[in-house]
C-alpha cells in the first residue's frame, strides 16, 4: 500500500491552521466570538463543547461553508478566508456521513477524484487502496442504504481521505455508532491518522471521545474557547469552574480564600466542615471567592480516621453504585454537603462499605484544583 503522507509546501515552521480572531454572527446571535487558535501539522485537535457552543460553526468555517463575519483563516500559511469550499485543500467527514444515495460505494469514494479530472483507471486504483485501508474490500458495488452504520462511517472516511487532504475535518465522527463499535473505531482512527500524517480537527460533544482521540482539546462554550490543552491538562488542570465541571465528574465547592502563601493556601468552604488545604499558592486577593474542584477518584475512604491532619472529613455513606470496574459512593458530610467518591475495584473481594456506614474521606493536598468562580 502506498499512501503518501501529506507534504507541506510552505510555512513549515508556523502553525498549520491558524484561526485568527474569527467571529461569526447569525443576525443578533454570535455563534463564534473572537476565536483565535493555532493547530500544528499532524495534530488531532478536538473542539469539545455542549450543543450550541459554536464548535460546529467553527468547523464549517474551516470547511468554507460559512464565511466568518470577522477574522481570517490560514491553512499552511495561505489565507483561505474567501476561498470557496470546492477550492480548499480540506475535506470533511459529515456527522450524517452525507453519502450520495444514488451512487455506489466506489462511486462515492471516487467522486472527489473525478472532480479533479483524475482518470477513471487511476481513480479506481486509489479507491481500491482506500477501501482496503478502511477494510471495505468487496463492498464497491453496494449502495449506501445497503450498508450498516459502521460501514457507512468508513465509506465516509474513505471518501474524505481519498484526495489526500492537508486537513481533515470530522463532525461528530463516531456519534452514530454504538458504544463497542465506537471504542474500536476510535483507535482505528488514531492509527490511520498517525500513518497518513493528516491534520485532524474533530468536533465532538463526547468528552470521552475527545480524551481518547485528541492530542489537544479546545473546550468551547457560547462561541468562545475557554481552554486549550492536552487531555491531561484539561482534566487535571482545568482553568475554570465550567471546564472542571464539563470534563468528567467533579466535586465543586464554593469557598473563600483565607490563607494564601507561596507554598500553600487554605480555602474555607461552608458545608464541608474543614478548610481545604492546597499545597501551592494561588496568588489571588485575600478573601477572594473561589471554587475548588476535587475529582471523585482522588478521594480515599476509610473506616478509621486517617493519620493525615489536613483534608479529612467525616460523613456517612448515602449511596453506592457498583459499576464493575469501580464503585461510586455518595458520602453525606456533617455539614450537609454530598461528596462523590470513586474507588477502583482492585480486588474481587474488596471490603465493602455499607449504606449509612460512618466513613472518613481524605485527599492529598495536591489534589484540589482552585479556580475562580
Amino acid at each position: 500500500m502506498t499512501v503518501n503522507p501529506v507534504q507541506s509546501n510552505g510555512g513549515a515552521s508556523g502553525p498549520y491552521v491558524r484561526i485568527d480572531g474569527v467571529t461569526k454572527r447569525f443576525g443578533d446571535f454570535e455563534a463564534v466570538s473572537h476565536v483565535s487558535l493555532d493547530i500544528a501539522q499532524g495534530e488531532i485537535f478536538c473542539l469539545l463543547g455542549g450543543s450550541g457552543c459554536g464548535k460546529t460553526t467553527l468547523l464549517r468555517i474551516l470547511a468554507g461553508f460559512e464565511t466568518p463575519s470577522a477574522g481570517s483563516i490560514f491553512i499552511d500559511g495561505v489565507d483561505v478566508t474567501a476561498v470557496p469550499p470546492y477550492e480548499r485543500p480540506v475535506n470533511m467527514m459529515f456527522q450524517s456521513y452525507a453519502l450520495f444515495p444514488h451512487m455506489t460505494v466506489a462511486q462515492n469514494v471516487a467522486f472527489g477524484l473525478r472532480q479533479d479530472g483524475v482518470s477513471k483507471a487511476a481513480a479506481a486504483e486509489r479507491v481500491n487502496e482506500m477501501l482496503a485501508m478502511v477494510q471495505l474490500e468487496g463492498y464497491e458495488g453496494r449502495k449506501p442504504h445497503q450498508l450498516s452504520g459502521g460501514q457507512r462511517q468508513r465509506v465516509a472516511l474513505a471518501r474524505a481521505l481519498v484526495k489526500r487532504p492537508k486537513l481533515l475535518l470530522l463532525d461528530e465522527p463516531l456519534g452514530a455508532l454504538d458504544k463497542k463499535l465506537r471504542e474500536r473505531t476510535q483507535f482505528e482512527l488514531v492509527k490511520l491518522q498517525e500513518r497518513l500524517g493528516v491534520t485532524f480537527v474533530i468536533v465532538t460533544h463526547d468528552q470521552e471521545e475527545a480524551m481518547t482521540l485528541a492530542s489537544r482539546i479546545g473546550v468551547m462554550r457560547s462561541g468562545e474557547i475557554l481552554q486549550v490543552g492536552s487531555p491531561t491538562d484539561i482534566y487535571e488542570f482545568p482553568n475554570s469552574r465550567y471546564v472542571a465541571d464539563f470534563i468528567g465528574s467533579v466535586n465543586l465547592f464554593d469557598g473563600q480564600l483565607v490563607v494564601d502563601e507561596p507554598d500553600h493556601c487554605r480555602i474555607a468552604c461552608a458545608g464541608l466542615g474543614v478548610d481545604i488545604f492546597v499545597d501551592h499558592g494561588v496568588s489571588a486577593a485575600p478573601g477572594a471567592k473561589v471554587s475548588v474542584a476535587l475529582r471523585p477518584e482522588k478521594i480515599r475512604l476509610a473506616r478509621e480516621r486517617p493519620e493525615q491532619r489536613e483534608n479529612v472529613v467525616m460523613g456517612s455513606v448515602s449511596g453506592i453504585a457498583y459499576l464493575g470496574d469501580s464503585t461510586r459512593f455518595l458520602v453525606l458530610l456533617e455539614g450537609g454537603t454530598q461528596l462523590q467518591v470513586t474507588r477502583p475495584n482492585f480486588d474481587r473481594h474488596d471490603e465493602h462499605l455499607e449504606d449509612n456506614e460512618v466513613v472518613w474521606a481524605c485527599w492529598d493536598a495536591g489534589s484540589p484544583i482552585v479556580v475562580s468562580r
Binding site: A63, G64, F65, P84, P85, Y86, E87, V90, N91, M92, F94, S96, A98, L99, F100, P101, H102, M103, T104, Q107, F111, G112, Q115, D116, K143, R159, A160, K163
Partner: protein, 319 residues
C-alpha cells in the same frame, strides 16, 4: 383481496391491543375497507365507462338513438349473438388524418412537457430554497390559478391575445410592430395555453422532491471539489428524478388528450386528437370511430407510462 398486501405493509398493528379473535378480525376488515372502498370507486367509475367505450368501438354505426348497433343480440331462435367488428380500428389506423392527429398530439404534449419542465424546475427549486413564510406565499401563487375556473382562464388568454388585446397593444406601443399581429389561432397560442395550464402540475411534484433533498449532500459535493453547476447535474438532478418523472407524467398524459385549449386557442389547422374525437362524437355522430380513437389513445398512453416506468426502474437500478 384488494390492497391487502399494501395494508400489511402500511399499517403495523399493535397485536397486544388486538389480541382477541373478533377485534382482530374487525381491525383487518377496517384496514381492508380503507383501501378497498376508494379502489372500488375507481373500478366502478373507470372500468365500467371504459368497457362501454370498448363495446361501442367494436360495433356498427347506425342512424338511430343511440347511433350504434348493439353488440349482444338475442336472436329469434333465442341464441345470443355477438356482433363484433374491428373495422373501426382498421379505419382509424389507416386514415392519414387520424395518424397525423395522433402524431401532432404527441408532439404538442412532448413540447409542452419539456417547456413546463424547463420553466417549472427553476421555479420549484427557487420555492424550496426560499426561507420561512415567503415559501408559503410563493407556493400559494403556484396554486392560485386553481381558484378560478380553467375555462375562465383560457377565455382570459383569448382576451389578452386578441387583435385589440393588451399584448398587441403593448407591442404596438413599444413600436415593435406596426399593426396588430395574429396571436390567437396559432401554434404559439396553443403552446402558451398548454404551458400556462399545466405548469402547476409540473411544479408541485418537483417541489415535493426538491424540498426533500438533503442539502448536506451538496455541501459534501462542494467539499470534494465539485463546483455548484456540476453538483446540480451530479447530485440534485439525479436525486430529484422521481419528481421529474411524476411531473412529466402529470403533464404529458392529459396534454395528449387536451381538447379545450387547441379548440379555443388553436387555428383551424391545429390538429389534435382530443378535437378529432370530439368532432367524431358530436359533429359526425360516428360513435364507434370516436370510441376506437379513444381506445387507441389509451393504448398509446399506457405504452408511454409503461416505458417511462421501465426507464425509471432501470435508472434506479443503475443509480
Amino acid at each position: 383481496m384488494l390492497g391487502c398486501g399494501f395494508a400489511d405493509r402500511g399499517f403495523p398493528v399493535n397485536h397486544r391491543a388486538f389480541s382477541g379473535r373478533w377485534p382482530r378480525l374487525r381491525a383487518e376488515l377496517g384496514r381492508r375497507s380503507v383501501i378497498g372502498l376508494p379502489f372500488g370507486w375507481l373500478l366502478l367509475f373507470f372500468a365500467v365507462p371504459f368497457l362501454i367505450v370498448l363495446k361501442i368501438s367494436v360495433s356498427n354505426a347506425v342512424l338511430a338513438m343511440p347511433p350504434v348497433a348493439p353488440v349482444l343480440i338475442w336472436g329469434h331462435d333465442r341464441i345470443l349473438q355477438i356482433h363484433v367488428q374491428f373495422s373501426n380500428y382498421a379505419f382509424v389506423l389507416a386514415d392519414r388524418l387520424y395518424v397525423a392527429a395522433f402524431i401532432n398530439s404527441l408532439r404538442v404534449a412532448a413540447v409542452t412537457t419539456l417547456l413546463t419542465l424547463l420553466i417549472g424546475y427553476p421555479m420549484a427549486y427557487g420555492i424550496s430554497r426560499t426561507p420561512g413564510v415567503w415559501r408559503n406565499v410563493l407556493f400559494m401563487f403556484v396554486a392560485l390559478p386553481f381558484f378560478t375556473s380553467f375555462l375562465l382562464r383560457v377565455y382570459a388568454w383569448i382576451g389578452l391575445l386578441g387583435r385589440s388585446g393588451p399584448v398587441n397593444g403593448l407591442l404596438l406601443h413599444l413600436g415593435l410592430i406596426h399593426e396588430p399581429i395574429q396571436l390567437l389561432q396559432t401554434d404559439f397560442a396553443v403552446y402558451l395555453g398548454m404551458v400556462y395550464s399545466y405548469l402547476p402540475f409540473m411544479v408541485l411534484p418537483l417541489y415535493a422532491s426538491i424540498e426533500k433533498l438533503d442539502l448536506t449532500l451538496l455541501e459534501a459535493a462542494a467539499d470534494l471539489g465539485c463546483r455548484p453547476t456540476r453538483a446540480f447535474f451530479a447530485i440534485t438532478l439525479p436525486l430529484t428524478r422521481e419528481g421529474i418523472f411524476a411531473g412529466c407524467l402529470l403533464v404529458f398524459i392529459p396534454a395528449v388528450g387536451e381538447y379545450v385549449i387547441p379548440a379555443l386557442m388553436g387555428g383551424p389547422d391545429t390538429l389534435m386528437i382530443g378535437r378529432v374525437v370530439w368532432d367524431e362524437f358530436f359533429a359526425n355522430r360516428d360513435w364507434p370511430v370516436a370510441s376506437a380513437l379513444a381506445i387507441v389513445l389509451l393504448v398509446i398512453l399506457s405504452g408511454f407510462v409503461f416505458l417511462l416506468q421501465k426507464v425509471q426502474a432501470q435508472a434506479e437500478e443503475a443509480g
